[in-house]
Structures are given as structure tokens and as C-alpha cells.
């Protein structure tokens, strides 16, 4: 089936009041940047829908593959265009309906007759097109209420536009329409999912990662870059901040008893993250914490860790099961990257029995012997910032041997 354009329906945006045009503009920009390399594509936004057109049919096909990942789209439909005369419309209608299985499906025809000079009136077009489709697609049943297939025929001056298939979009809000936050990206399964969830609600994100060379390797950093790159496919450019964490981590291990060192380490990370957040003028910090999953994710631990800042900490996975999180990570394609086996800063120096209910007074007491602020400032200052455009690894292509 050759399609001519794509009809895009907005999600929650259509509910928005006076901000609506802002949201639509954001979505249009995001779609444009997702289609950056497809030169023949252009967009036309209307109040409650958008049209994507392409001169090259190949590019339209690629657009169909990419749209399911763009947030802020409720659904979209490939549209076929033909000459606005009844016979052509009838034949095109059979082609459009026939592009997916019809056996035993219910259907109806909806007509928008924008071109008032078209010789037949709406109800006549419905009858003529519906009758023709019925006699040419075996197994179809007409049903007005909640049919499986709605064939939409839009008759305009420039031709007739037909569509039937409705493809589900990613939903959510256009990325960037709901502020900016800093995602703590460890390299595990959870944190990329947390980032994804917040992007879905329209947040744009920067990511922060703590590296402790030589305990963590170049490959662990590569892994985090790949994760950040994956997140970029959901319609935003994710910038990555890599913090040299070795000195700070060593100081903690030296200063604080083993069973509390985990809590202090997290407090240090959060302070570093908060300072970076300040510098990039983001509003919140996102973590992949899920209640009770590990010692640092009990309510008591979170209280002790959270004490270092009043910045909102967004924990979209807090009430989710590990299996649910894994399912999402597989669906968004971060799982295979996350399970690469490298050590990260959270898995080195782990005490054998960290406190699940750390006492804040104790934590304060042990931290009081050393001025960590200097080390924190140092780590923030010496961070490496990797722009989204630099995340991609130029993997050797091995073409000469293949």
C-alpha cells in the first residue's frame, strides 16, 4: 500500500486551554527533530491534528516507524490520496481497507465533505462507498456503534483523503513542555526507565553519572553513554554529565563505618547532583528508586539521603515491581544495554550488610569529621559534559572483512 500522508492526533494536549499552541509548537519541533534526516518531510499543524507529508514514499515509511516513539501523540493514521471522483474513491477505499485483515470485522464509513462542490452529499457518499467496500471485501459487517474499522473519507478541493488504520502513539506530553530535570543514571535497569517515564510526561532531561576509575572502566562509561543515546530516541537531546567520583568515594570509605558508608555515599551523590542541577538551571532530580528494592531504597534510607536537599526528587518507579520495570526497559530497548556486566560506582565498595534503617544522628556524626564540601565542589567542577550529539559511538564497521 502506497500512502501519501500521515494524520497525527494529539494526546492530552487537546485538553489544554490557553497553553495549547505552545504544546503544539513543541510537538511539531520534536517531530521535526525526530525526522531531521528525512529531507522531503514537512508538517502542517491544525488545532486538533497535524499532517505529515513527504515527497519520497520511502521517507514516509520511515516516518511511520519513528512516530510511535514521539511523546505527545495519541495515535496516527497513514492516509492515501486520490482524485475526488466517486469511482476512484471507491477503488481506493477497497485498497485502504484491504491493507489489514477484514474477515469478521465490523466497519462504517465516515465522510468529511469539505469541498462543498462535490456532486454527492455526505449520506450519499457514505452509502456508495460503504456498499462498494462491502461487495469487494468478504467478511465485513456494517455496524454504526463502535465498529472495528472506521473508514474516514475526507473530500477536499485538492482531492480525496482516505484512512482507516489507527496506530497507537506513545501518548504523554511533548518532551520539553514540562520543564527540565537531572536524571541520576547509574547504568542499571531502573534509571533509564525512570528517565523515560518523566520524558513521557513532557520533561526534558540531562543525565548525571558517577564514575570511579580505576574501579570502574571505560566500558562502564560507554554503557551509560549508550543508555543516554537510547533515551535521545524519544524526542529530546539528553546531555550527559560524568562526575569523577573516586576521591569522594575513597574519602567516604575511609571516614565512615562500613554499614553507614552506603548512606553517606548516596548523600554525597545527591549533593553533587544538586549542584549540577543548579548550574544547568534544572528544576528537579529524577532517580530510579523503587521502594524497598535495596537497602538505600527503604523509606528510612531515603529520608536520610534526601535530607541534603530540598530540591524535588522525582521517583517515577517508586511503586513499581522489578518485573514491571524490566518489561518497560525491554520495550524501550534499554534492557540489553543495562545488563552489560560492568561494575559501576554503586557496586564497588558495597558493605556486606548496609543499614536499611540508618539513623540520621549517626550519619551526621561520622560525616562531621571531614569537610566534604570541597571534594563535592571539586567533583562538580571536574565533570565531563558530553553533548547528545557526541554520545554516538563510532563502532568500527569491519566492512572490508564482511
Amino acid at each position: 500500500m502506497e500512502w501519501n500522508e500521515i494524520l497525527i492526533r494529539y494526546g492530552e494536549i487537546s485538553l489544554k486551554g490557553r497553553n495549547r499552541s505552545l504544546f503544539i509548537r513543541k510537538l511539531k519541533n520534536n517531530i521535526t527533530s525526530a525526522m531531521m534526516d528525512l529531507k522531503s518531510i514537512h508538517l502542517r499543524a491544525e488545532r486538533d491534528r497535524m499532517f505529515l507529508m513527504a515527497e519520497e514514499s520511502d521517507e514516509l515509511k520511515k516516518a511511520l516507524e519513528r512516530l510511535p516513539h514521539v511523546f505527545g501523540i495519541q495515535s496516527f493514521s497513514p492516509v492515501a490520496q486520490c482524485k475526488a471522483d466517486l469511482k476512484t474513491i471507491q477503488q481506493k477505499a477497497v485498497e485502504v481497507i484491504g491493507s489489514s485483515p477484514t474477515e469478521g470485522k465490523t466497519f462504517k464509513v465516515e465522510v468529511k465533505r469539505q469541498d462543498k462542490e462535490f456532486p454527492l452529499v455526505t449520506s450519499e457518499i457514505q452509502r456508495e462507498v460503504g456498499g462498494y467496500v462491502l461487495s469487494h471485501c468478504p467478511g465485513l459487517i456494517v455496524q454504526m456503534k463502535k465498529p472495528d474499522i472506521v473508514l474516514l473519507v475526507d473530500i477536499r478541493k485538492e482531492g480525496a483523503f482516505l484512512t482507516s488504520e489507527v496506530i497507537k502513539g506513545a501518548g504523554g506530553m511533548p518532551v520539553g513542555s514540562n520543564g527540565n530535570s537531572l536524571l541520576m543514571l547509574s547504568g542499571g535497569i531502573d534509571s533509564p526507565v525512570a528517565g523515560y517515564q518523566m520524558m513521557k510526561r513532557g520533561m526534558s532531561i540531562d543525565a548525571i553519572h558517577f564514575a570511579s576509575p580505576p574501579y570502574t572502566s571505560e566500558l562502564a562509561q560507554r554503557k551509560v553513554m549508550d543508555l543516554a543515546e537510547k533515551l535521545c530516541t524519544f524526542g529530546a537531546s539528553v546531555r550527559l554529565h560524568i562526575i569523577p567520583f573516586t576521591e569522594l568515594q575513597q574519602a567516604v570509605v575511609k571516614q565512615v563505618p562500613a554499614n553507614i558508608s552506603m548512606t553517606t555515599t548516596r548523600r554525597m551523590m545527591l549533593q553533587v547532583a544538586d549542584r549540577v542541577r543548579e548550574e544547568i538551571k534544572a528544576h528537579g532530580i529524577i532517580t530510579g528508586e523503587s521502594l524497598g528494592q535495596v537497602a538505600s531504597q527503604t523509606l528510612e534510607s531515603m529520608t536520610a539521603i534526601n535530607e541534603v536537599t530540598s530540591t524535588p526528587i522525582l521517583r517515577p518507579l517508586i511503586a513499581m515491581d522489578k518485573l514491571e520495570i524490566i518489561a518497560i526497559s525491554q520495550q524501550i530497548g534499554t534492557y540489553d544495554i543495562s545488563i552489560r556486566p560492568y561494575e559501576d560506582c554503586c557496586t564497588i565498595f558495597t558493605p556486606s550488610s548496609p543499614k536499611t534503617k540508618p539513623k540520621l544522628e549517626k550519619v551526621h556524626y561520622y560525616e562531621s569529621f571531614l569537610d566534604f564540601h570541597e571534594l563535592i565542589e571539586e567533583a562538580v567542577k571536574n565533570r565531563t559534559v558530553i553533548e547528545a550529539s557526541e554520545l554516538h559511538e563510532d563502532v568500527e564497521v569491519f566492512d572490508d572483512l564482511l
Partner: protein, 376 residues
Amino acid sequence: MIYLDNSSTTQPDQAVMESFIAVNEKYYANPASLHCMGREAENFLERSKQQMLTVVENEDGEVILTSGGTESNNLAILGFAQEYASRGNHIITTSIEHPSVLNACRHLETIGFVVDYLSVDDSGLISLEELKTKLSQDTILVSIMHVNNEIGTIQPIRECAQIIKTGSRAIFHSDCVQSLGKLPVSINQLGVDAITVSSHKINGLKNSGALLLKKGVKLQPINFGGGQENGIRSGTVSLPHAVALAKAFRLSAVDSERSDFRIWRDHLKVVCQDYENIQVICPDHAAPHIIALAFKSIKGEVAVNFFQEHGVIISTSSACSSKSKNVGHVIEALGLKDNFKSGVIRISFGNTTTKEQIDKTVNVLKSFMDLIEKGM
């Protein structure tokens, strides 16, 4: 020697062997290793697999590397049967499959599965009607070869897929060992869930092959160990074999059947028409790289010997069954006349075959027939 037994195996391509050696010299690390050399090998492995998937138009699918066609077929039959055993216990295949499919199915019959073997007509074709009637809600797997290895019959895989996919939830596997490199093989176009391929049939290396899966298709492993290849095929992955296979894929891929093969085969067929004592077994619509002939009241082995004395290597039916005394199962399934059954030979072309070789072969065939008609 003129080598016309390319359906048994082919001469490895020079470029494929060079890649194999180069990869052994430079990228010998284990792709599963943590270190940078391992990661490099892993990237290379992914690229190789991607190249294979692109050739068969299955970009988002999966490649399970194996030791060849037999293991791939075993893995498909046993692995799918176990994975989907909770849905039913019925399997459909054909009576002219390769032994690695047939014997795996027979094994499944001993542990409670029910297998239907579709019959074929005298051109080796299955009947879509029979497939339709055999298909039931209990059917979990259908395995039908694309091109038969003994007589070249091309099965209507696409039509089968439509029937299977509308009439059941069964997985559809196709043994494409003989079709890859000879016909266009596209998982997408054929509508199958999994295909078996073998490296040494496409001028690659022996002991290497793969099972290619459509995205989301699952199966159980049949060997156990370190869980390589997503847990489906344990054992250290051989990157050099993977690269060689990917290269052979690329070099052998065709957009349509080879017209030179068809011209040569038609030429041979015309020659055979002059002799009453030869029956051409392969039908016109068969894959053009195979021509199977049956001699009346002459053992196939006699023909093979005569041809090789005159510098031409051909075989009696398939190499897999050519050493056994009995008439092969494919030949049995075709319903050939008794006095022709033992006289079957197979001539199969490959990328190294030339027109001069065919001309010489025609002359050998003619002198063989002269000899027979004189009464040997």
C-alpha cells in the same frame, strides 16, 4: 574435475576464506568477554548478524549461530515444540524434508507429539488443501522446506504461511538451506517465523549455519552451557565463522533465480528427451540449480562412476542418503516407477559452474547413453 555436486556442498569462496583467516588472526577474543577485545568482537558479531538479517529482509529479527543446517533444523523442531507444548502437541511437516527435520520429528513422536507428514505429488509439491485439512487448533509448529535438496521442487511457502497464519497459532519454520543464494529468500516476503541456513551450501565454510528468527519468536534451547546466543545456543560463539557466513550471505544473495542456471538445465533436459531410458524428475518450476535424472534399470552408482571416469562429479540423489542401499525417502515419496527408482542421479550447479563445463557434461551424458543403448 568438473564439480557438479553443489547441492551436497560447495567450494569455499576465496574471499570468504581470507576473511575467516583475518578474523582468526585479529579478532580472536571471546565476544562474551568483558574486556575491550571482547567488546570489539561483540560489535563485530552484531554487525555480521545485521548483515545476514538485511539479506533476508528481517532487520529487527535474531540470528542464532549453529554448527550448520542439521543443528539449526534440530533446534527449530525440538526448540519450538518444547516452547509451545502448552498450546498443543501437533506438528506438521512434509514427507520430503531433510533427515534433520524428519528424524527430529520422529523423536518428538516418541515423547508424545503427533506429527503429520504431508504427501507430495509426482513433481514433489505438497497440496495446500491437505495442509488446510491437517491444520488444527492443536498445531504448534509447521516445518516446510523451501527448496528440496534432491529434486529442487520449490514449495509455495508464502501461500502456506497465509493458510497457517489465518488458520492457527502455529510457528512456521522453513528449511532454506537449498534456496538461499539460488532464489530470493526474504523472511518478510515468505511470511515465515524462522529459517534454517547453512554456510557451506553458499560457498562458505563447513560446520557453520544459523537459525534466523523473526522478532519476538521464542524457542527452548536443546543444548546447555554458558547461555550464549540469548540462552538458545550455548558454547563460545565463533566470530570467524559468523563473519564468513555473513560474507557468504552477501556474496551469494540473488534478486531473482539465476537465468544461466535455467538455460543450462533446460539444455540438459532437451538432451535427455532424446533417450527413452532417462526420466527427468525435477519439474519445470523447480529451483534451476538442481536437475535430477532417473535411468531405467541402471543403478545410479553406475552413472556416478562413469561420469567421474570422464571427469565430472555428480551424485546419486542426496549425499545424506547416497551411501545407504535403500531408495531415498524423497524418491519414494514421488511415486517413481520401480525400474527407475534405483537409477536416480543429481546434477547440481553452483557459483563455480561454467558453460564449458555443462557442454562437457552433456557430451559425457551422451556417451553414457550410447553405451547403455548398446547394452553395456
